[in-house]
């Protein structure tokens, strides 16, 4: 089949095309608007925000809110800005994404290439885990982390995120490996490669697109998570979202919206970066994997 090409055989007239571009641009505007509001207000002095039109462009441009959010804003007792929490997040997200992706890949590999009795049932069980509401796991999870000696630590957080991301990563990889030629695995077996060698040398190097999908999904979810980060972290392992929340949600203090927005954009930068850098492969990965056409 001649699929996979980026073009379509559908033909459109000039008027239709103009309308089409118009609609697309309108939607682009719709998607950009809230972000634009954030950006605009992050470069305004606070008085302009509380005193006037929040949708207007700044009369006085200032980058102080950015500096403040990053380095000097009061997050807790110390005016540290978001900076130190950034590293806490990185220390949590990188291993959690890596482990859940690798485990998901291994699970997908086993479930498609080394099938055994009840494997579909097991997969169903894993998939259903995607739907568990996080509110109900908070207390028992805390108990278990405590028993395991992982309470209030980054490894504990990593464990939690790995557990609740596994369902998705397994789903993605399973769908992807389903169409990976089984003959390759057989050829490697004849060549004498074992279970892990086949995975490491054969499947993993060909999994680029689906790794991208899995990493984007996991990175976004873990980076943006607040509930687990707040509940299971200690004073020295609180992630960025908790800090951002502290910056934004102060209850009885003065609200510096411009700093809030700057902080929010700063906190979102890594995920945005991941989307923009890896986004190109995203549709391709979805195409190869999660959506079987």
């Amino acid at each position: 089949m001649s699929a996979g090409s980026t073009d379509t055989a559908v033909r459109t007239g000039r008027i239709t095309r103009t309308a089409l571009y118009l609609v697309l641009l309108l939607f682009a505007l719709f998607y950009l608007l809230p972000f634009a509001i954030m950006v605009i207000n992050s470069v305004k002095p606070l008085t302009e925000i509380t005193g006037g039109n929040m949708m207007a462009l700044p009369q006085d441009w200032t980058f102080d809110p950015w500096v403040k959010a990053w380095a000097t804003a009061q997050i807790g007792v110390d005016p540290t800005g978001l900076k130190p929490y950034f590293w806490n997040s990185i220390k949590m997200v990188v291993p959690a994404v890596a482990i859940s992706t690798i485990l998901g890949a291994l699970n997908g590999y086993v479930l498609t290439k080394w099938r055994f009795k009840y494997d579909t049932l097991i997969f169903g069980f894993m998939l259903f885990a995607c739907f568990i509401p996080f509110q109900i796991v908070l207390i028992p999870m805390a108990r278990i982390l405590g028993l395991a000696g992982l309470a209030g630590s980054t490894p504990g957080l990593v464990l939690v995120h790995v557990v609740y991301g596994l369902g998705f990563t397994t789903l993605y990889f399973k769908n992807y490996y389903q169409v990976f030629p089984t003959e390759l695995v057989r050829a490697a077996q004849i060549d004498g490669a074992g279970f892990f060698r086949i995975f490491w040398r054969l499947l993993l190097p060909s999994s680029g697109p689906i790794i991208v999908v899995s990493v984007i999904w996991q990175f976004t979810n873990i980076w943006n998570d607040f509930l687990f980060g707040a509940s299971f972290a200690d004073f020295d392992s609180q992630p960025m979202t908790v800090a951002l929340n502290n910056l934004v949600q102060s209850s009885t203090g003065v609200k510096e919206y411009n700093v809030h927005f700057a902080g929010a954009i700063l906190a979102a930068l890594p995920t945005l970066l991941v989307y923009i850098v890896a986004g190109r492969y995203f549709v391709r990965g979805l195409m190869a994997g999660s959506v079987k056409g």
Binding site: A188, Q189, I190, D191, G192, R201, L202, S206
Partner: protein, 371 residues
Amino acid sequence: MSFLTIDNATKSYGSVEVLHRVDIDVQEGEFLVLVGPSGCGKSTLLNMIAGLEDITSGTISIKGKSMNGVHPSNRDIAMVFQSYALYPNMSVAKNITFGLEMHKVPKAERETALRDVAKLLQIEPLLDRKPGQLSGGQRQRVAMGRALVRNPDVFLFDEPLSNLDAKLRVDMRTEIKKLHQKLGTTIVYVTHDQIEAMTLSTRIAVMNGGFIQQLGTPKEIYDTPANLFVATFMGSPSMNLIPVKILEENGGLVAETTNGLGETIKLPFAAPPTGLKDYVGRTITLGLRAEALTDPDGADSKAVNLVTVKNRVIVMEPAGSDTFVMTEFGGQDCNARMRADVQVAPGEDVDFTINMDKVVAFDPETEDRIV
């Protein structure tokens, strides 16, 4: 004792038996081809030999040693897959030496082996490329190289040429043939292309529905098919099958049927199979290859018993090297292979010569050949 023995092997998936009590002996240096329609169990059998599928019952042994439960990599076999199954992320060189690396062959030895194989297959300039950058024929050769480099006891090929275009296929077929003649290794080869089966094999196993229908040399299979299935499955175009009535005339046997003009015609046998006598007065199925039904000038000059009858041309297909002409015997469409230069046209009535040396007879009920 034979080299590769498949003894009473069956294979079931769950409650479905897809291979039934298969017995095959392969001698050292033999080129055994497995043919049969899609889904008949060819790949399954090959995978069982390779150790990629378990054997439900029976044994497979190589050099007298049972291979049941032996890991594929310890069986001293190499396999070439239909899709080639080249590792897409490795260079051609890595693809070829991967198996050696897995078997812990030292690097220097691997290099030498690689160079030898690359030279043999003329893929030296391709060694650094990735499989994605190769043409179909080149890929096929790399897949072969990966198998060759291991220098195994047995080669298994699963439809290695079916992805190639017609021209390349013919070339690669010849190369495989040459290679087999040069190396003398034992080969088991799956295909559903009959020409490939005929030209490459020393013996052919025709399979259907998990049963071996006939196991024999290409000539046996082609000229004396064991039953109607083998007769129609092998050969292109397919063997013409004509319902005829056996009569005894002048002490000999004669097959009576009709031509496309509605006339009754009689085809005398020169050397009928002994069993045919029992069918006198009954209707049997006469098998006639297209090349045994031809124009008078195209008939085999060495043939003993040629019968010429008039018949009507239904369709004519010039194919360059030959002309295929369709006509009708006993109410059945029959293909005749005539010379390229023959001058006939649809609707015309022309002479057809039947080479009665080549006809075979089948019992219409059991579908077995009458011997």
